[in-house]
Amino acid sequence: MRFSTALRLAWRDSRNSAAKFAFVILAVAVGVGSLTGVRGFSRAFRSMLLKDARTLMAADLSVRVFELPTPAQEKIFDDFTAQSIDRTWITETVSMLSAPQMSTPLLVAVKAVDPAKYPFYGEVRTAANAGLPSILEGPNIAVSDDLLVRSGLKEGAIVRLGTAEFTIKGVLTYEPDRMAGSVNVGPRVMLTRANLELAGLLREGSRSSQRFLFKFPSGQADAMILTARKQLASAFPDAVIADYRETHPLITRGLNNATTFLSLVSLIALVVGALGVAMAMQSHLQQKLDSIAVMKALGGRSSQILHVYLLQATLLALAGGGIGILLGAGVQKAFPLLIAGFFPIAPNVQFEWISIAEGFGLSLLSTLLFVLPPLLEIRQIKPIVIFRRDMEGVPKPWREWWREQRASLAAALLICLGLAGMAAFLIDANWAVAARVGGWFVGGLIGALLLLAGLSWALLKLLRRLVKLPALKLPALARHGLANLYRPGNRAEAVLVAFSLGVMLTLTIYLLQSSIIGQISASAPPGMPNVFLINITNADRLPVAAFLKSAPGVEGDVAIVATAAGHLKSINNTAQNETNLVGPAKRFLRARTITWSNEMPPQTQIVEGKWWNNPGSAEPQLSVLADAAKALNLKPGTLTEWEVSGRKVYARVAAIHRNESVRPGSNTEFVFSPGALDSVPVLYFGAIRARPALISQLQKASFEKFPAITVINLADVLVRVQEVIDQVALVVRFISAFAILAGMIILASSIAGSRLRRVREVVILKTLGATRAKVAAIFSVEFLLLGLVSGVMGSVLAVAFTNVLLTRLLDAQFQFDWAPNGIAIFGSALIAMFAGWMASYRILDQKPLEVLRDE
C-alpha cells in the first residue's frame, strides 16, 4: 500500500473519533510537556550557570567551610596573597532580629561581608541604588524586602540583632552569589564583619558557614587556577570548592536531584498517559472490529491494516509531542516564577533542537510502545467474525494461545525494556546507576500493576463466590448487575487496576500530606519538641535550661544537647584515610557531629561494653552507635583520636549503643563522656515542646534574655515545608488524575467493546417486560460495584503505602482516618458510574424490534 493511501485511510478513520483522539493527544502532550519543560529548564539553567559562573560566585574561585581556618590553612591564604591573589571572607549564619514594633522576633539569614571587596564580580543592587560600602558603614545593615513585609518595619527602623542595635539603611534587591550561599532560611540581613562581631553572633564552635572568595590577577586566572585549586583541596578536605570554569557544585547537585526527580515524575505522567492512549486505541480498535474484518474480507492484508493504524498512532504521538513541546516551553517560562524566591536570575527559554528531538522521541517511543499490544491484535481479527461472532470468548488450547500471544508477550517485554531505557536516559548519571534506576522504575511499576491485578482477580473471584452462596438472597437486579462483571469480554480486572492505581496515588499523596503537616504542626506525638534553640554556649547552657524550665508554655522535659564537629583521625593509632575507609565508611572521613552526655540518652540500649558510671574518670570515654561501630570496626577498648576545631581529643570506646528514639540529638553517632570535650568549643541546642499559642511569647522572652540565641518555631519552618509539599502534591495529583481518567477510558472502552451483547441483552430484557429503570438499575449496580471495589482496593493500598512511608522513611506515626478513605471509595464509585453511563446511555433507547429483526 502506498504511503499516501495509508495516510488517507488513517485520516478517514480518525475523522469520527475527534474526542477520543483529542484525549490521546492531550495525554501525550501533558507527559511530554512536563518532561521537556523540566529538562529544557534544567539545560538552560546549567548553561546560564556556566556562562555567568564568575558573577554567580562573585569570584574566580570560592571555598566554603563550616569552621574557621586553622593556622596551616591560613598559611595558604598568605601564600595566595603573596601571589597577588585577592581574597574576601563571607560568613553566613541564622539569628533572630527584633524591634520594639514587632510582636515576635524574626528568624533571619545573616551574611557578613567586606563591602570594600565584596563582590569581586557582579554587583549588589539596592532599592535606592546606593553603593554597598556607604550603606553598611557605621551601625547600619541592609535587609531584603521580605523582611520589611514580614516585620512591618520601614527603612530607617532601629532593630536588635544579637546583642547590638542597628539601623536598616538599605533594601537588597539582588545579590550575585545568592545561589551559592548556604543559608536560605528566612529574610536576609547583610552587614559588615565588624558589626557581626558587635552583635556577638559568632561563637567558637559555631556551625556558621564561611566562604572565602578569591580573585586572580587580571589575565592570569587560567594559568593559576589549577595549582591554587589543588592546594586548597588538600588543605580543606571538607570544603566545597568551585571555580569559574564549572557550574557551581552546590547548585548543580540540587539541580541534578530536582531534574531527576521531576523527570521521573514526568515519566510516570507520560506512562500513565501512554496507558490511557493504549486503552483509547484498544477501545477504538474494538469498535472497529467489524470494519477491520470487512477490510480483510475485501482483500486487505493484516500488514496493510496494521500500517494504517500504526500511522494513525504515529501521527497522534507526533501531534501530542508537538503540543507537548509547546507546553514544555510554557513550563520553562513558569519555572523561574516558581523558584524566584531562591534564584534571582531567570535563564532564557531555549528552543534547542535537542529538547525538540527529545520531546518527539519520547512521545513516539512511549505511544508506539503502548499501542503495540492493541495494534498486534489486528492480526488476530478474522474476517469470519462478520458471520460468526458468537464464537468469541471460547477458551483456546494453550498451544494456540501461545502462538497468538507470542507477539503480545514480546511487545510487553519490549515495553518494559523501553520504559527502563527511558527512565535510564532521564537520569544524569553513569550507565550503571542509570540502569539500576531504570530497573527499579520498571520493577516498581510492574510490581504495583501485578499486585493490583492479583487483588482484582481475587476480589472478583470472591464476589462471584458470594453471589453463589445459597444463603445470600440478593435481589434480581443486584444479581444481574454482579453477573455483568463476569460477562465474557468484560475487562473488569483492567478497569479495577487502572482505577485503583489512580485512587491509590491520589489518596496516598493526600494522606501523606495531611499526616506529615497535621501531625508535626498541630498534634505532634506527645513529647516531641516543636521549638528549637540554637547557638547556646557553654556559659549559657545552665541559665537557658533554668529559663526554659520556668518559661510559660513549656511542657515536659527540657533537653539541652551538646554538639560539635569532629574529625576522626586515627583508630588504635592507625591513621584513617581513603585507603582504609572505603564504601559507606568513607563518610567518616568528613566531619561528624559529636556530643557529650552524662546520662544515657532515653531509649538507648547498650549492645556491647557499658556506659560510664564514673564521670570523674581520668580517661575520656566514648559510646558509639552500633551502625557506625560496625562500619569502623570499633569495639570497647579501641582508642580513637579526634580533631575538633583544630584541637586533639583522645577517647577510648566504652560502649556500643543502639537508639530507637526519634528525639533530636538522641541518635548522635558518637557520644563522649563528661569532660572529654572540655578543651574544645562546644555549642548546645535546646529542644522543647511548647504550647503553640505561647511560642511567640517564649521567643520574645528568650530574645530579651539571650539575644544571641536563635529560637526556631517548628511551625514557621513547617509553613515552608508545607509550601514545598503542596507543590509536589499538586504535580502528583495531576498525574493521578490521569490514572483515574485512564480508568474511565478503560471502563468506557470495555463497555463499548461489549456493546453488541449489552444491546441484545437490553432488548431481550425489555421484550420480557423489563422497564428502562430496571435495566438502568442493573447497569448501575455493575458500574457502582466496579467503582466501589476499585475504591476499596486503592484505599487499602494507599493506607498501607502511607503507613510504610511514614513509619519507615519519615519517622512519623500513621493514624487511620475514615473520612478521606470513605470519600475516595464513594468518589470512585460515582466516577465509575459517570464513565459507565457516558459510554452506555444510548443502549437504553434501543428499540427491541430493530435489534431482534437484525438477528
Binding site: 467489524d290 470487512v294 480483510k296 458471520f387 464464537m391
Partner: protein, 231 residues
C-alpha cells in the same frame, strides 16, 4: 455440471468444517463436493444452521477448513495463509453481506473505493467508484455516511463496492435478507443486472425460494451436507 472444456470457477472436494466449543465439537460441514463453472449463478439454500453461510465463508477464504479442498479459478486456497488469502480475495472475489457491512466512518464513495485502495489500484478508481454509484442510483448520495442511508441504499453501496475491482467471482450472503420486499427486489435486480454486465460467477446464499428462482442452479443444504443440486 462443469463444462469439461473450461476450468471451473470453483471446485470443492470433501469439505469438512468443525468448531470446538468449550465442551464439545460441532460438525458444521460434513463432506461437501461440487464444481461451479465460470459465469454460473448458483443459489445455495437451506434452513438456519444448515451450514450455508459457513460454506460461503470458506469459499471466500474467510475461515480455515478442517479438511478437504477448495480451488478458486484453479488455485488451491486451503493451504494459504491469511495474507495470501487477502490478496486472492482482492484479485478474485467480490462480497455482499446480509447486513451490508459498510464501514461507518467512510462515506458511500469512500466505501466503494476501499477495495481499490487496499489493492493499491491507482488510475481511474475514483471515476469508476462514481460510475458504479451512478449504476446503483446513488450518484447524489456519494458523500453520505452509512447512517445517513436507508437499508436498501446501504446494500446498493455494498453492491457497488463488490463490483469495484471487477472480480471474476461474486459471493452474496442473503443480500436481501434485511430488506423489505420492494427494496429487496430492487437490490436483487441490480445485482443480477450487474452480474450479467460484468459476466461474473455468482454464488448467492438465501433461504428465500423467490430469490433462488432467479438462479441457474440451486444447491440445497441440510445439517452440513448437500441434499439436492438442481439446474
Amino acid at each position: 455440471m462443469a463444462n469439461p472444456n473450461t476450468r471451473p470457477a470453483i471446485r470443492v472436494r470433501e469439505l469438512h468444517k468443525s468448531i470446538a466449543t468449550a465442551t464439545h465439537t460441532v460438525d458444521i460441514l460434513r463432506g461437501i463436493d461440487f464444481d461451479v463453472p465460470q459465469g454460473q449463478f448458483v443459489a445455495i439454500m437451506g434452513a438456519s444452521g444448515s451450514g450455508k453461510s459457513t460454506l460461503l465463508g470458506l469459499l471466500a477464504g474467510l475461515d480455515t477448513v478442517t479438511s478437504g479442498s477448495i480451488q478458486l479459478d484453479g488455485e488451491e486456497i486451503t493451504g494459504l495463509n491469511e495474507d495470501s488469502l487477502a490478496r486472492l480475495r482482492a484479485r478474485k472475489l467480490g462480497f455482499v453481506f446480509q447486513s451490508y457491512q459498510l464501514i461507518p466512518t467512510l462515506t458511500a464513495e469512500e466505501n466503494v473505493l476501499l477495495p481499490a485502495e487496499l489493492a493499491g489500484a491507482a488510475g481511474n478508481a475514483a471515476a469508476r467508484a462514481r460510475a458504479l454509484l451512478d449504476d446503483v442510483g446513488l450518484a447524489d448520495r456519494r458523500d453520505h455516511y452509512p447512517v445517513q442511508l436507508s437499508g436498501g441504499e446501504q446494500q446498493r453501496v455494498a453492491l457497488a463496492r463488490a463490483f469495484m475491482l471487477q472480480p471474476p467471482i461474486l459471493m452474496a450472503d442473503e443480500p436481501t435478507g434485511n430488506l423489505d420486499s420492494a427494496n429487496g427486489a430492487h437490490v436483487l435486480e441490480l445485482l443480477l443486472n450487474m452480474n450479467r454486465k460484468e459476466g461474473t460467477t455468482l454464488i448467492l446464499v438465501t433461504h428465500d425460494p423467490q430469490v433462488a428462482a432467479h438462479a441457474g442452479r440451486r444447491i440445497q443444504m441440510r445439517d452440513g451436507v448437500i441434499v439436492s443440486d438442481e439446474i
